[in-house]
């Protein structure tokens, strides 16, 4: 029997980036806010001290910071005619758990989407004709434009202290930045990171080929920074332990290093950890959320009544919670009807290693977002006519790490073990640079999330089922990007290169990237979206859903910058519109 708790104004489900930002914004508006987080409390000095944080076994192999499949996992299949099986160990993507969420273990690559990304269907149709978009490709325009989001991108970048160089300041193209980016009102809060040798060579090669290299925008601090909330971050030490690790030097933006120290001082905020939300409760009309039911680590169930419920967990959890709670119409791939779980998308990545004899790189000088990128082949920055695909991605040379267990680049035709393998690793360990591609994934009729008919989680609920594969569009696009990466790698004049392109079906086993999107997409009308332009549920107006689940399809960038911008955008709408007049902010 659930214990009923005193009501609050707002309950936040999950306490990562979006939960922390909303907590800060809505407590500022005077509301009483409770955040409920399934994982434990974590802070920099206690949990990520530099004396032990750089531990590959604990964090990379044993997944210390990630969702535990024993409590919650998902089942997977490539297509609707297959039977999905449960993931007993995470692979392709690594959702976080605990305070700070995946904002703890990200790399810090912080991008804005292109203005044309927000009009994916209209823009591509106008330029390439209706036939450029296959019938099974379910892409749609965003209900919000780049220009509308610009001030909120800006807020997130200044919260985080992003290091970078503007390429388009109020419409003026700035030499050395990304000339393809949308206009920004001001430069990044911090200068680019100090550049290391591999990316510098890549930048020179890219220039030689007529491309436009620029330092990638980074949430690793290029210098000490105090953000507008008064929280201070320290300069990055380039230790090379970002992705899959917490930062012990206060040098990577995370909820802990940017928001939480201020938020936890407030009397009108409360955080409950080790508490998993099982259900969004509604009144008998079904049109109004009354709060949530959650279970703590002792197994005690609680009902937390609230005026506003906001889902701030990872997209997979948000979709699962809506399906379990029976909110909205589940997507049905056969009929194409329904919206919850629709337009699940991902990212498509590939890479090319370049092995040198005459150059020494030091991979130990690394950071998650330390690198040089080009955007010449992203979005619609190039002519797609005759290419047979839409969308694109950025190419980059990163110097993220020299973590020895995880990272042992070896040339083609090297044995997988033994003396020859060892000698190849020894020879190439300090002499390899890599060019990676990071591509968009368009949404597709047969890529979606729903409830599994067979497998259940620790609470007896059906697991989320993922049905996903790359389509022709992605495969062609990735091949194109990989060829460009190979050209760039060759232009760096290495001894040899090794192309790691995409082949065959999507596999959920090897790690690729934690950029899952869609499933609770935002849109102009309830027929093809779960939430409106303010991330408000069409069905239950006092329910909001944050995160990359809102993306109608996934552009060729890392999602966090846009997730942060959308959160500030939604927070502003709640503060300035919803609180004055609670109800639908957009009429269906």
């Amino acid at each position: 029997m659930a214990k009923k708790l005193p009501p609050v104004d707002v309950v936040l489900v999950g306490f990562g980036w979006t939960g922390a930002i909303l907590g800060q914004e809505l407590t500022d508006a005077g509301l009483n806010v409770v955040a409920i987080e399934r994982g434990g409390w974590r802070d920099t000095p206690t949990d990520f001290a530099v004396t032990f944080a750089q531990d590959e076994l604990r964090y990379y192999y044993r997944h210390a910071l990630f969702q535990e499949p024993v409590r919650e996992t998902l089942t997977f299949r490539n297509s609707p005619d297959q039977t999905a099986l449960p993931m007993r160990r995470l692979g392709s993507f690594l959702p976080g758990t605990g305070v700070g969420g995946a904002g703890i273990h990200w790399n810090g690559q912080t991008w804005r989407f292109l203005p044309s990304d927000f009009a994916a269907r209209r823009h591509n149709t106008e330029r390439y004709g209706a036939q450029a978009i296959p019938e099974t490709m379910t892409i749609q325009d965003w209900p919000v434009s780049y220009d509308e989001l610009e001030p909120y991108y800006d807020r997130f970048e200044y919260l985080c202290g992003i290091s970078g160089k503007a390429g388009n300041l109020n419409g003026q193209i700035v030499e050395g930045g990304n000339p393809f980016e949308g206009a920004r009102r001001r430069d990044y809060p911090n200068p680019p990171m100090k550049m290391v040798y591999g990316p510098t060579l890549f930048g020179a090669a890219a220039k030689e080929l007529g491309y436009h290299p620029f330092p990638a925008p980074s949430a690793n601090m290029s210098r000490a920074y105090t953000n507008p909330l008064g929280v201070t971050l320290a300069p990055c030490t380039y230790c090379g332990f970002c992705e899959k690790y917490g930062c012990g030097n206060y040098s990577k933006s995370s909820p802990q290093t940017t928001v939480i120290p201020v938020l936890l001082r407030k009397d009108n905020f409360e955080l409950r950890t080790n508490s998993e939300v099982l259900l969004v409760n509604r009144d008998p009309s079904g049109k109004r959320a009354t709060g949530v039911t959650y279970v703590d680590i002792q197994g005690q169930e609680y009902e937390q009544p609230a005026e506003i419920v906001i889902l701030c967990a990872y997209i997979l959890h948000n979709v699962h919670l809506l399906l379990i709670s029976g909110i909205g119409t589940p997507y049905d791939a056969r009929s194409g009807e329904g919206t919850v779980g629709r337009n699940y998308a991902y990212q498509i990545v590939s890479g090319v290693n370049a092995f040198f004899d005459d150059k020494l790189f030091n991979p130990f000088i690394g950071a998650g977002a330390l690198g040089i990128a080009i955007d010449d082949f992203n979005g619609d920055n190039f002519d797609h006519a005759g290419k047979g695909f839409i969308g694109g991605g950025y190419l980059a040379c990163w110097n993220t790490n020299g973590r020895p267990i995880e990272n042992s680049p070896i040339p083609e035709n090297t044995p997988k073990w033994g003396a020859k393998w060892k000698s190849a690793v020894a020879k190439n360990y300090l002499r390899t640079a890599s060019v990676s591609t990071h591509g968009a994934v368009m949404s597709h009729r047969n890529n979606y999330l729903d409830l599994d008919p067979t497998y259940r989680n620790a609470y007896g609920q059906p697991l989320l089922r993922m049905t996903f594969d790359y389509t022709d569009n992605e495969m062609k696009m990735s091949e194109f990007l990989t060829e460009r990466a190979a050209d760039l790698a060759r232009a760096m004049k290495p001894r040899e290169i090794k192309i790691n392109g995409r082949k065959g079906h999507y596999s959920i086993v090897p790690y690729q990237t934690t950029h899952n999107t869609g499933g609770t997409v935002m849109g102009d009308n309830p027929r093809d979206s779960v939430i409106n332009r303010y991330l408000q549920s069409w069905d239950v107006p006092n329910l909001f859903v944050m995160g990359a689940g809102a993306f109608p399809q996934n552009p060729g960038y890392n999602p966090t910058g846009t997730v942060g911008a959308l959160t500030y955008w939604a927070a502003e709408a709640i503060r300035s519109q919803y609180l004055k007049n609670p109800g639908p902010l957009v009429q269906a």
């Binding site: 000095p45 001290a49 530099v50 032990f52 000490a224 008064g230 320290a234 230790c239 001082r265 009397d267």
Partner: protein, 427 residues
């Protein structure tokens, strides 16, 4: 607690207005606010609140070299607190260290400082305490060694070491200086930690504010001496440190982190400036004579420093201002007594978090990673590099410190464990 207090004051004020008895002295808002400010300045909460839910109900264990003392209940409860005390009773306790039944109080309650407070200020403190909710709580009996467990013994102590008397302003100094001196030497009782003690636990008056050791922390030299004291700090540096727990040179850790969080961060800017003006005028202690460390010891220390310390404190010891304190010119690093330096290396430290500096910056523990010899070497290295000068540290000293830390970890929680600072972080 703060909110509760504000509410009860507001409620009282409303009652006064409604019943038309405005002007009744006990409900004098200005007086209560003044009292609250003085209670903050005096950091009464540090000793008298054990459980946040029971403010000022006493019972907190205060370890002294002579045994453990449990703080008194100073909430207005009639039976177990000060509810039945008269104004004269309260003043006598503050001014003379004598309880309402004539019993001698122990100077762990810093009456040798509070004696300097004006009667008006003491009345304001009492008015504020009496406005709080009474909490029934009888603290445990003290655990003191003989003969100190006999209260009358304190009469002799008082005769030898206690100078009763209200603060007398120095007419040759500015009003600001006098205000600072009054706060520092009276309610603020800075010297209780920062003045070295004789074997009876009394201040060595001739060495006022030259630094002491308390509960395995160095309370640093606050005189104008350059290497160990505040010689390198400006008035603004001092005020910023007290207000925010951080400045370009240092960050408050250990017991001082509690003082900042509970007391000085809540003081007015004018009072903090006054304290800074006064402290900058405290004549310097004599420069310590220091022997140069052995060259190979310095080299060993440098190797440890480059490996374990330089990432945050930088290769040249300049640190990251307001986050990771610079070690170059750092007064705490150069204290004659290396207690705090060793303790921070061994068990790490967290800085105070305040509204202005909400991030708790921290140094991790190295006690499990470095042995006594390595810690002695790196401590010696940072005390003697980049222009720093302080005595070498022997590995025996590190061993003793390690032993003290282990013993304390095994002992029950007492004042000064830092628990209250942590609580600020994770409520």
């Amino acid at each position: 607690m703060r909110r509760l207090t504000r509410t009860s004051i507001t409620t009282l004020a409303a009652m006064v207005l409604l019943t038309g008895v405005s002007g009744a002295t006990d409900f004098d808002y200005a007086k209560l606010e003044k009292g609250r400010a003085l209670v903050n300045a005096g950091d009464c909460v540090a000793c008298h609140t054990q459980d946040k839910a029971k403010p000022f109900a006493g019972g907190r264990a205060i370890p002294t070299p002579f045994g453990t003392i449990y703080s008194a209940n100073i909430s207005p409860d009639r039976d177990t607190g000060i509810g039945a005390w008269t104004a004269d009773d309260f003043y006598r306790a503050m001014h003379e260290g004598v309880g309402p039944h004539g019993e001698r109080l122990y100077p762990a309650f810093p009456y040798p400082y509070f004696t300097r407070m004006s009667r008006d200020d003491v009345e304001a403190v009492r008015a504020y305490l009496m406005s709080l909710d009474p909490v029934s709580n009888t603290p445990p009996p003290n655990e003191l060694i003989w003969p100190l467990n006999i209260r009358t013994f304190m009469a002799g102590w008082n005769m030898l070491f206690f100078n009763k008397g209200t603060y007398q302003p120095d007419p040759n100094k500015s009003a600001e200086w006098n205000r600072g001196a009054y706060l520092a030497e009276g309610p603020g009782h800075c010297g209780a930690c920062h003045t070295p003690k004789n074997i009876f636990g009394a201040d060595k008056a001739s060495k006022a504010l030259q630094g002491g050791v308390i509960q395995d922390w160095t309370a640093p030299n606050l005189t104008a001496q350059t290497s160990e004291g505040l010689g390198g700090w400006s008035e603004a540096d001092i005020a910023e440190y007290l207000k925010t727990g951080r400045n370009r040179l240092s960050g408050a850790t250990g017991l001082m982190a509690e003082v900042v969080v509970n007391s000085t961060s809540k003081m007015s800017d004018a009072d903090l400036k006054a304290i800074a003006v006064y402290l900058k005028d405290v004549g310097p202690s004599s420069a310590p004579s220091v022997s140069a460390p052995a060259q190979n010891f310095m080299q060993a220390g440098e190797a440890v420093y480059r490996d374990s310390c330089a990432a945050c404190h930088q290769g040249n010891g300049t640190g990251v201002p307001h986050m990771f304190p610079p070690l170059q010119g750092n007064a705490m690093v150069q204290q004659a007594d290396p207690t705090t330096v060793l303790r921070i290396i061994l068990e790490g430290a967290k800085t105070a978090a305040t509204a202005q500096r909400p991030t708790t910056s921290a140094m991790p523990a190295y006690g499990w990673k470095l042995d006594d010899q390595q810690i002695a070497a790196v401590a010696t290295y940072v005390r003697n590099s980049w222009g720093n000068k302080a005595g070498p540290v022997a590995s025996d000293t590190v061993s003793r410190m390690r032993g003290a830390i282990n013993a304390r970890k095994a002992a029950p929680q007492t004042v000064g464990t830092g628990a209250r600072v942590d609580a600020q972080q994770s409520h």
